[in-house]
Symmetry: C2
Subunit: 178 residues, 2 copies
């Protein structure tokens, strides 16, 4: 392995949500400045209905400039919140269901070349009707699909959100294994 | 659906690789400023050896502050390069193998809440020995694993890179389907 050392980390830009840093690093003997984006992390959930369908969220994503179909997810309210607490809240807010049967499936780092954001992904079953409650700047529609439909949409390039692809494919593999 | 309109996009910070913008948006009647990170995009590859093993890359990732095990990948040299050209180059540079049998598997958006980065993920077979050639600031080691080993590492939370988890799980599902 080569040599890597981070010498300094300087806040370069404070965005609305993101903190962007310039990291002064020494890599293979050379000085360089690498981009680093701080994010508290988030959690996502695959909510499975009694019929075995998955509740998905359709919303407009400004950064990719189109509507996406994603599993419900949200950011931690604070760094130490914990994925399970976060996902229980986001499940209820976005889908209008609660669950007392939420199990960890996988964890992803969204974009390791640039950010520390980590997303814990869970599966929620035995859904209990409750009330939706969107954030002020959220605007979403719900859709229910079978896992087979969702896998086909991924292989047609119609679902691309990384946490959604990772979570659904992991769910498909796990269902196959059980 | 609620109302969304982007009124303006202003460069807020030019990093080493990333361009960070502040987007002035109108969402559900409210004015807001959202973070947007521009990235040209990238490509990644699952290189499958004659024995059916997958060649993986272990490297230090500054943003997550640890060593990660990832599928080989790289950024497009310019926005219009195309994923196949990029991935053919990255395959050779990182693993020391070429391939004339590279097939598209899935495409992901790494982090749709914040960046337009898209990564096309391919499967490369019939590997032909060539020569490794790292970028100046790269330092990687290669490992070969079966897909079963890699799936187990994901379910143990030891592989978390989103493109790697999405790509390997999609590959596992596709192998099952064939």
């Amino acid at each position: 392995m080569g040599e890597f050392k981070r010498l300094d980390r300087t806040l370069a830009y404070q965005g609305k949500v993101l903190k962007v840093y310039s990291d002064h690093v020494k890599v293979n003997g050379q000085d360089s400045n690498w981009d680093f984006i701080h994010h508290n992390g988030g959690a996502a959930v695959i909510p499975v209905t009694e019929e075995g369908k998955i509740i998905m969220v359709r919303q407009y994503r400004n950064a990719v400039d189109r509507f996406t179909l994603e599993i419900p997810a949200g950011a931690l309210n604070y760094a130490e919140e914990g994925g399970l607490t976060c996902v229980a809240r986001e499940l209820e807010e976005e889908t209008g269901y609660r669950s007392e049967n939420i199990e960890w499936l996988i964890t992803i780092n969204s974009w390791p070349p640039f950010t520390n954001e980590q997303v814990e992904i869970f599966v929620a079953r035995d859904l209990i009707p409750s009330v939706q409650n969107f954030d002020e700047e959220e605007s979403i529609e719900l859709e229910e699909h079978t896992i087979e439909e969702l896998v086909a949409l991924i292989f047609r390039g119609e679902i691309k959100d990384s946490k959604t692809v990772a979570g659904l494919m992991a769910y498909a593999v796990k269902c196959e294994q059980e």
